[in-house]
Symmetry: C2
Subunit: 351 residues, 2 copies
DNA sequence: ATCACGTGTGGGAGCGCTCCCACACTACCT
DNA sequence: AGGTAGTGTGGGAGCGCTCCCACACGTGAT
């Protein structure tokens, strides 16, 4: 057996040319049918479709990508270690929305982790090779160079987070400020007076905005700011425990805690229990994200729902639009390129 | 700093040809350097590498794929709804092993969900288009047509599970039978006499093998089979609760439970607690997977550790070898194409 | 009749690579 | 001297598409 015969012409998949021959038309016509161009007569279209079906023709992605200079793929970039991706429901919700919105598109989704230096390196290489038509960037940190890199490479990209994170990039955000306000206002309305806040990781934009919402709600209600009631967390359960311990020590009289995430609230709850505080009788507790944890906690946790799945959908919509705009290199419409989605307070037994 | 030098040309990225011109060599030589061929003199190689660096050359993936008829990508196919993927540590461990082993390869990993009919459809289309060089198939169910499809399309593939699942495909499995035996033998050695088993989903091959191991261990120890001590579960917490309730009703005198997964064990634990049974005093409990849950449970859960991460590594190794073998269309070495990795019982306070 | 258009259609010219053959050029034999 | 390897190198011939120009047809206005 000739070793170089592996390039087998006869045994391979059918090509455009073969379909064209079968249907008795030219290559261009088949291409038009495949790509849904309207400039084909009904009879011709039917003949081509028949030939495609008979031969089981499937377009060669590589050839298309080379000729058309596009890949029909987009990347969901997670600049976090994989462990966090699995630990936080945020990402799975986001992925669900993205997947759903992408379901009826031809686009293929690539999941890319870039949690360490090596991953960053690979990603940069990857983007430089233009292996994707667009990028979805979630969980961007304060000093992250990724947005700049994307802008510089002129790769369409949508970021989840506030516009300030990367002015040049389209963004989709949820109303972190308003969500935090609604939580605090709810606690105030229930008569709580000493309300603590365990923040998220402050190098994540949204976490900072929640702190702002917390502060402003208290200030607008006439409370004076007590910085000892604010303790940094990091979105993890362990961080929640640590912060709660610190808070109890500094302000044993607190009667409510607004946590930066449900997971954090779970950690805080443990410490409160161990300290003999009843929830909500002694201390009211509110989380953020309204994830599955919130529903299953004992008692069920009041939480600020972010429309994460919708955010995923919105991000895809904007990204696809931006990719489509890239073809005719005009009309760089700057209108409504920054979306903010509303949050909702889901009240349960913990408050 | 010269990275912008050649950009003006046709507005695009530098090509092989441009690198060749810059280095004063031919296209073929540059290609050889890029692909690490040894048939290049040191001087020439250095010149080419300099030109590559100066121009910031990055190979065009599409062109390479078209010319070489390969994609440098492999797919990790998860034939489950996305929710399960996130809920079960099994998948994240597997992904970690796969990712680690792939880190120093040029291969890119695609994560593909095919949990519903629509996903299946997309996947089939995807495979038919040969968009990947190989496939990793995890969590295959009994009547799944995917292995056959892969064999038919002649796409290199490695399956996680026993060889019987798809004789034609390379497989990597952990010793489910032995793992279950070791768990039961441990319980027997501790003097337990009425040992129940909550199974995994029985349409998953591994779960069935664990039942076999459970039965054989009891039989070999001279116990007679009591089918009322076996209750089907589905790997979920809820399933564990349901099964435990059923078992307690049928066999209130049981003194040990071997659960099909740690998550299942967590569910069983809740029901045991509510029924007033102390662990391990009244009832010993053993899980499977040795996931994070096991370590953090109260009391810490004895569990059968599967080397999932290693399985991921092994799968990648075998797959890459198979892809490499595909080039010279000879030597379809059938040797050691079915690997079985050992399990280990991790004993903690619950037994 | 001529011209002007719009509508379908065929096929040439690439896209940027890899593969492989041909061709130096150098050893080291007979 | 001629022969025979082996080594490094250049470049033609594609891979299977998309893009776009050319052209064959209508059809209606001049």
């Amino acid at each position: 057996m000739a070793s170089h015969g592996a390039r087998g012409r006869s045994g391979g998949r059918p090509t455009l040319e073969e379909v064209a021959a079968r249907a008795g038309v030219g290559r261009g016509t088949v291409s038009r049918v495949i790509n849904g161009s309207p400039r084909v007569s009904d009879a011709t279209r039917a003949a081509v479709e028949a030939a495609v079906a008979e031969l089981g023709y499937v377009p060669n992605t590589a050839a298309r990508a080379l000729a058309a200079n596009r890949t029909d793929a987009i990347a969901l970039v997670v600049p976090e270690p994989e462990a966090r991706f699995f630990a936080e429901p945020y990402f799975s919700d986001m992925l669900r929305g993205v997947g759903a919105e992408l379901a009826d598109s031809e686009m293929q989704l690539l999941l890319t982790f870039a949690g360490n230096a090596r991953g960053r390196q690979r990603l940069a290489q990857y983007l430089a090779a233009h292996r994707v038509d667009g990028v979805l960037l979630v969980s961007v940190h304060a000093d992250d160079p990724l947005p700049d890199l994307l802008a510089q490479l002129e790769i369409p990209a949508v970021i989840s987070g506030p516009r300030s994170a990367a002015e040049a990039l389209t963004s989709v955000d949820s109303d972190n400020y308003g969500g935090a306000r609604s939580a605090v206002e709810h606690l105030l309305a229930r008569g709580r007076t000493e309300i603590a806040h365990i923040t998220g990781r402050l190098d994540v934009y949204g976490a900072q905005r929640r702190v702002d919402g917390y502060r402003d709600a208290l200030r607008d209600a006439g409370h004076e700011t007590d910085e000892l009631l604010v303790e940094p967390g990091d979105f993890t359960e362990e961080g929640g425990r640590r912060a709660m311990s610190a808070l109890l020590e500094r302000r044993p009289g607190l009667d409510a805690v607004f946590a930066g995430s449900d997971v954090t609230a779970a950690g805080a709850r443990q410490v409160l229990r161990e300290a003999g505080r009843r929830i909500p009788d002694d201390v009211a507790l509110i989380g953020y994200d309204d994830s599955a944890i919130a529903r299953h906690m004992d008692p069920p946790l009041t939480s600020v729902r972010q429309p994460i799945e919708e955010m995923g959908r919105a991000m895809i919509d904007l990204l696809l639009a931006e990719i489509a705009d890239r073809r005719p290199a005009a009309s760089r419409g700057l209108e409504r390129r920054h979306a903010v989605l509303a949050t909702e307070l889901v009240v349960r037994a913990s408050s």
